[in-house]
Amino acid sequence: MNDVFNAFILVGYATIAHLFLVNLILGISIIIPILEYIQIRNKDSNLKVSIKSLFKFMVISDLFAGVWATWLTVFLGGFWPLLTYYATTVLFIPITLSLIGILIALPSIGIYWYTWDKVNDRIHLSIGIMMAVGTIMVPVGFNMIFSFIDNPYGMNQALNGNLFAVFDNPLYPDFTLHRIFGAVTMASVSLLGIYSYLHHKYGGVKYTAMVRILSFIALPSILIESFLGFIYAWELNLYSPYIASEIFGPLSMNGSLNSLFFLFSIFIAVISINALLLIFIIFRNCSGKGSGLPSILLAIFAMLGIPLGEFINDYSRYPYFIITGNSGVNASVFLNNIMEISDIWVISSIMVSILVLFVYVWLVYRVNVKGIQIDQ
């Protein structure tokens, strides 16, 4: 393996792992205040138990996302210092926006948890809304990085002092909305799958409200997300044709058949199956019949979409890092050559990350499924 590939794989791997969790967190942190508002209005104690369980799941995901974010920062700083330098210099304002979002979101998560049942419901809901606002600010800023590496708009203006010029990047608005709705879709659809299964298995009214509310969120969200996805694909053709040709292959304006197009086809199939399963399960739930296996499949397919889509999007740029139209700036230009990147870093990092994944799944199981005693 060469240094460029090692470093590219490590950063890509950390990015996908981080974004998978971050999308779950973003989606759940938007959904939780909605659920809590309905819970307060209806004084639904069953719903409250479910929201608490969901929040614990989000906290665990957030802690692990934090681990991956730190991995990502260290890998970027260690392997790609020049890229990091350019990104932080040119994208100073968007990154600051994200940073403020993180600083709002993380403490509000802690405060939200420890003030549950200890402060007035409305105050608690306000803290939840603050948490959601902070969490939304994070992708609003960071998605500029992804837009920028697909279409480095405003670089010269930024280096000459106009740091707001990057916001005129035509890829940015739709891509950001696409990511936010993608997160809400992934979270709501996968949670709907899980709660539909629980509802089907245990019956009664324990999960009824949760299933109903999640259906109302998931269905419009997947429709909006699909629409935004089409627009994003169209914009990629216009502003980042290299990426478009790599991903969409023969469907793009000037692409040909390639291996990524094959993966993209699988991705589209996954999204389509998701949509079909979602509609099927909503119908089954409305008719009071419920569903077992399809619900589990829905949860799994919903969670598959994000990492698969991210992999396609990220890998499509290799061997370039920043795409400029039909070509790009080679990744090797940004590599840290003042230190050797041995294979051992790649192997040990991937081994550790697999361990992290197992521990994450085990913790989610212990805390949410086994329902061990909680400190509250």
Binding site: V59, V67, T70, G78, I95, L106, P107, I338, L363, D375
Partner: protein
């Protein structure tokens, strides 16, 4: 007190920095410094609790398990929620510091990030263990069925957080003493000793130094880093063997224990005074929390001595400044005894080091270092003594605390001061955390400001690594207001948790 010191530090740093010239990068770096200083202090405030409090929490839990005592278990459980929220806020503010480094001072990574790679990557593994065990520890509390498994999970968490602290401090210690660079720094600052084994490409580093001097990291980036510099570092693990790090780690961890233990003591003492019917129970808890702080306060005297010796050995200008040896040098009987066993030992002053500057490959940098140290001496001396006096008072408090266990000493205390020793312990609990915070804040101020204007001592100056983006007053004010808000809200959350969730006997 802390705010006053911060204000003083910020203004003096800015003042001394302005005197360096009108380089626009220097202006930008000066504008960025206050928010960086405040951000690091806010992060440090919560980290102090997150690193130090577990020692007390686990002591309570251990006593609870060993003696099957619910009082201690309840106290441990309650206190662990404070630990949890401090960890969360510490993580948030850690992100702030991380982004501060990446975004405000991006040149650090470009120029010298490779030296931080091993500590920070290994820290990822430690952080991962922390995250896993913080979830296990906080979510598996069961005081009805206490288990040693739960306690051990806490011990693992404690070890992980200490390893994490060690690795982060490794990066910071490298900034103070760039260990593993051999004689490189002594060529620039001739009074510096050789900094460990030579694991660097001396020619490449000298080239990097010249590049940075010509216009900071932006110039370096434009000139294409890899073609100009070449491989710099042959052993990325070398920052972990830094003798400056050993002293720093010991000293810092003990300081965190002192602050965590005495802050808890203050809350317990408050309840002791307010709730007369629970005094026996409260004092039982107070004896443990105060005791943990007292043991650490005694030990820190020894780690402080160790710290002082390495500062003298590797950051002698800082030593001359905070001991106020003066321009022409002089005697310092206490330091003379401690370092040489000779009260008449003559310490060289700033003029001696100025004289050495002519031997430097960059005399300007050497002169600048001496002048910065002289400027630092005007206020660093007082800040240093705030630390020393606070430490001495805590040491005295600790000795008095240990007298609790001797009937003779206890009665002697009563005869001299006309109050029971227990009363002294209760009321001194309100003073002790402030002394601990004052000592820690002052200690870090001396440590960090004492190496100004260097980011990496003797090698990389602060203006060389600043972002070329203009740091506007509005941005600075925004970030500082967010930092202060986090400090206020986070502290309020901790107080709220302790007060609202107060355990009742």
């Amino acid at each position: 007190m802390k705010a006053y010191i911060l204000l003083a530090i910020s203004s003096i740093i800015i003042f001394t920095s302005f005197s360096m010239g009108e380089n626009p990068l220097v202006t930008n770096a000066n504008a960025a410094e206050p928010m960086t200083i405040i951000g690091i202090y806010v992060h440090g405030f919560f980290l102090l609790i997150a690193v130090g409090l577990p020692y007390l929490v686990l002591t309570y839990e251990f006593l609870g398990l060993k003696r099957n005592d619910k009082d201690f278990l309840n106290a441990a459980r309650k206190l662990s929620s404070v630990w949890g929220i401090s960890f969360a806020i510490g993580a948030a503010t850690g992100t702030l510091v991380e982004f501060g480094l990446v975004q405000i001072w991006p040149g650090t990574l470009v120029a010298i990030g490779s030296f931080f790679f091993a500590p920070l990557t290994l820290e990822l593994f430690a952080f991962m263990v922390e995250v896993v065990f913080v979830v296990i520890y906080l979510f598996t509390w069961n005081t009805e069925k206490p288990s040693w498994f739960h306690f051990i999970s806490g011990v693992v968490l404690l070890i992980a957080s200490n390893i994490s602290a060690y690795l982060i401090l490794a990066a910071n210690s490298f900034m103070n003493v760039p260990w593993g660079t051999g004689d490189l720094v002594s060529k620039i600052l001739p009074w510096m000793p050789s900094l460990g084994p030579d694991y660097v490409n001396q020619a490449a580093l000298a080239n990097l130094y010249a590049q940075l001097n010509s216009g900071g990291t932006l110039a370096l980036v434009k000139n294409s880093l890899e073609n100009q510099i070449g491989t710099l570092l042959y052993n990325p693990m070398v920052p972990l063997y830094n003798p400056y790090l050993y002293a720093t780690f010991l000293h810092t961890v003990l300081a965190t224990i002192i602050i965590g233990a005495f802050e808890t003591s203050a809350f317990i003492a408050f309840d002791y005074i307010r709730r007369r019917d629970e005094r026996f129970y409260r004092f039982k808890l107070l004896k443990v929390s105060y005791g943990v702080g007292a043991i650490a306060s005694v030990l820190i005297a020894f780690s402080g001595d160790f710290m002082g010796r390495v500062v003298y050995q590797y950051n002698v200008l800082k030593f001359v400044a905070f001991e106020r040896i003066g321009a022409n040098g002089g005697k310092d009987p206490i330091m003379g005894i401690l370092l040489y066993g000779n009260p008449d030992y003559y310490f060289q002053g700033f003029n001696y080091y100025l004289g050495l500057s002519s031997r430097s490959v960059d005399p300007n940098a050497a002169v600048q270092s001496v002048m910065a140290a002289e400027a630092f001496a005007t206020w660093g001396y007082y800040v240093y003594w705030v630390m020393v006096i606070s430490g001495i008072l805590l040491f005295i408090f600790s000795l008095l605390y240990f007298s609790l266990y001797s009937i003779k000493l206890k009665s002697l205390f009563g005869k001299i001061f006309k109050i029971p020793l227990e009363t002294f312990i209760v009321y001194s609990s309100f003073v002790a955390p402030f002394l601990g915070l004052a000592a820690a804040s002052a200690g870090w101020a001396v440590r960090e400001a004492g190496r100004h204007p260097w980011v990496i001592y003797g090698f990389l100056q602060y203006w060389q690594v600043i972002t070329p983006d203009q740091i506007t007053p509005a941005l600075s004010a925004l970030i500082i207001s967010v930092e202060i808000s986090i400090l206020v809200l986070g502290s309020a959350a901790i107080v709220f948790l302790i007060r609202y969730g107060r355990d009742k006997k």
